[in-house]
Amino acid sequence: MTAALTLTDITVTYPDGGRTLTALDNISLEVQPGETIAVVGPSGSGKSSLLAVAGLLLTPNSGRIEIAGEDVTQLSRSAASQVRLAQLGLVFQQSNLISSLTAREQLEMAARLRGEKGRAVRQRADELLDAVGLADAAGRRPHQLSGGQRQRVGIARALMNDPTLLLVDEPTSALDHERGQDIIRLITRVTDDRGIGTVVVTHDMGVLEHAKRLLTLEDGQLSHSYAGGHGG
């Protein structure tokens, strides 16, 4: 089976005053379809850099990135955008929904970026909202939704273009424990159902019981890795 994501010997450094800061130090990682991987670690450990590299938002200093078996390490900005549209779904911290769009329109927007529109797109958006338990909220704007509902819309939006890889950034940071667990359960469910590879970057240790694997990042190094409680 082709891995959804393969990172090989990834190193990312930043200039930091007079010295160089190593955000990711020779990291390698493989995410299989249907697998949820949680990456935990303290602030500044390199979690967001890992997500940015996997999301083609940041070009590493060295190493190789493959998405669905295709080398995408050195793509132009435009080609990287195309890969994000076609292969990646991003779920942001606090959902980052567009304030002028309703829940349904958030999903339609994702399809429109690929040039798709019309009744079929609206129908797919409604199906996805239904799948995340928000069929009744399709016409609501972000300020009319709760934090948990906004995060669900963000997940549905990320699934709109049938991604190979789902990258999730701190999905529970703005939610209480119970709602956070709901969101994590939803992410692992759609990962299983749709055969997507999912990487969840989080501070929340509650993710552990749902993720198939847990990776710990510290000072840019994958210092620990073990099987979690979900699936197997």
Binding site: S43, K47, S48, L51, A52, G55, L57, L58, S78, S81, Q82, V83, R84, L85, A86, L88, L90, F92, Q93, Q94, N96, I98, S99, S100, L101, E105, E108, M109, A110, R112, L113, R114, K117, R141, R157, D169, E170, S173
Partner: protein, 354 residues
């Protein structure tokens, strides 16, 4: 324009405020354009409606510019002009300002003197008669057959022809034969009106006749205060256009900065910069066209209502043209502001980078 239309609907207050500013700017620009055209017509319509295609004036003294009111043709200039190659017709036009007595009071007017037999004289001009403009006839309730006085001489209104004015005064055409008795020596001026055809050589003509000739349209700057007046009003229009570009640019700069987190998310999702720029330009275009059209319609309505008492021209050149210019210049301002979309880094959509 999926996002643009929804932004406009969602942020109604902000866009309504900006739209109101565009309405006011377009109202001012179109009012000023109509007024410029109206005032210009009051200064020049008697010249622009002359038959023929060129005007010649005596060469001004060193350091002075050509002027209708200080041009004096030499004796024999008309005859010399008629002999030149390419000249189909040439006639002298005499110009003076005078009071016209109508019903016991004086009305300021510009007298145009011409030989009734020449091509430049209006139809109906005969000895002891005058041809007056529509404006004078309307304002003084004159009609053909009525009597007016000029410097103590009585003339019958032979005809009413056109809405012609010169230097903001209505024009009264008088026969050239009466000119000497009407106007004191040195109180008048004279120019040549020419109808030219193929083979006309401006340089050779000017040299042979001792004049400066030019196309009729180019001669308007030689009318009294027309250049200064037209220049001032045109400068005000240009400044208003510049202000509109700055205001639109400032609005869209603030708007784009406010949207930066949304733009970063869309870029992270895979949106290309051009898609986002096109959407934002669409937003600006809708705002400019809607606000500009409303302001233009208001200005045209006001212009039509006050057209009898204020010199104001309402036509395509004073409404559609400034509207199109306003939209184009506004789009330049918006484009300069929206350009910053290209600098939004999608990585800022991630939590740690915010």
């Amino acid at each position: 324009m999926f996002l643009a239309l929804r932004d406009l609907r969602f942020a109604k207050g902000r866009f309504a405020l900006m739209g109101a500013v565009i309405v006011l700017i377009s109202l001012l620009v179109v009012m000023l354009t109509g007024l410029t055209a109206g005032l210009g017509a009051q200064s020049t319509s008697a010249i622009t409606s002359l038959p023929g295609d060129r005007v010649a004036m005596s060469q001004p003294p060193a350091g002075q510019s050509l002027s209708y009111t200080s041009s004096h043709l030499s004796d024999g200039a008309v005859a010399a002009a008629k002999r030149q190659h390419g000249v189909k017709a040439a006639a002298e036009l005499q110009i003076a300002q005078a009071g016209v007595q109508v019903g016991g009071h004086d009305v300021a007017a510009t007298l145009f003197g011409a030989d009734p037999a020449s091509f430049v004289a209006p139809h109906g001009l005969t000895a002891n008669s005058v041809v007056i403009s529509d404006e004078l006839a309307k304002n003084q309730h004159l009609s053909a057959g009525d009597e007016v006085g000029i410097n103590g001489m009585k003339f019958t209104v032979a005809a009413i022809r056109g809405d012609s004015s010169f230097s903001h005064m209505p024009v009264v055409w008088v026969p050239g034969a009466d000119w000497g008795r009407l106007v004191g020596n040195g109180a008048d001026s004279s120019v040549l009106v020419l109808s030219t055809g193929s083979g006309f050589n401006s340089g050779a003509f000017d040299h042979a006749v001792g004049v400066d000739s030019m196309a009729t349209g180019d001669s308007l700057s030689a009318i009294g205060s027309y250049s200064a007046e037209h220049g001032s009003l045109t400068m005000m229009q240009a400044m208003l256009m510049g202000i509109s570009a700055l205001v639109i640019g400032a609005f869209f700069t603030v708007w784009t900065i406010g949207r930066t987190p949304d733009l970063a998310v869309l870029k992270a999702m895979g949106a290309r910069t051009w898609y986002l720029v096109r959407d934002a330009l669409g937003e600006a275009l809708i705002l400019l066209v809607a606000g500009g059209a409303l302001g233009t319609a208001l200005a045209a309505t006001i212009g039509t209502l006050v057209g009898d008492s204020v010199p104001f021209v309402v036509d395509l050149s004073t409404t559609a043209v400034p509207l199109i210019l306003l939209v184009l210049i506004g789009m330049v301002g918006a484009a300069a502001a929206i350009r910053r979309i290209s600098t939004v880094d999608p990585i800022t959509a991630l939590g740690a980078a915010r």
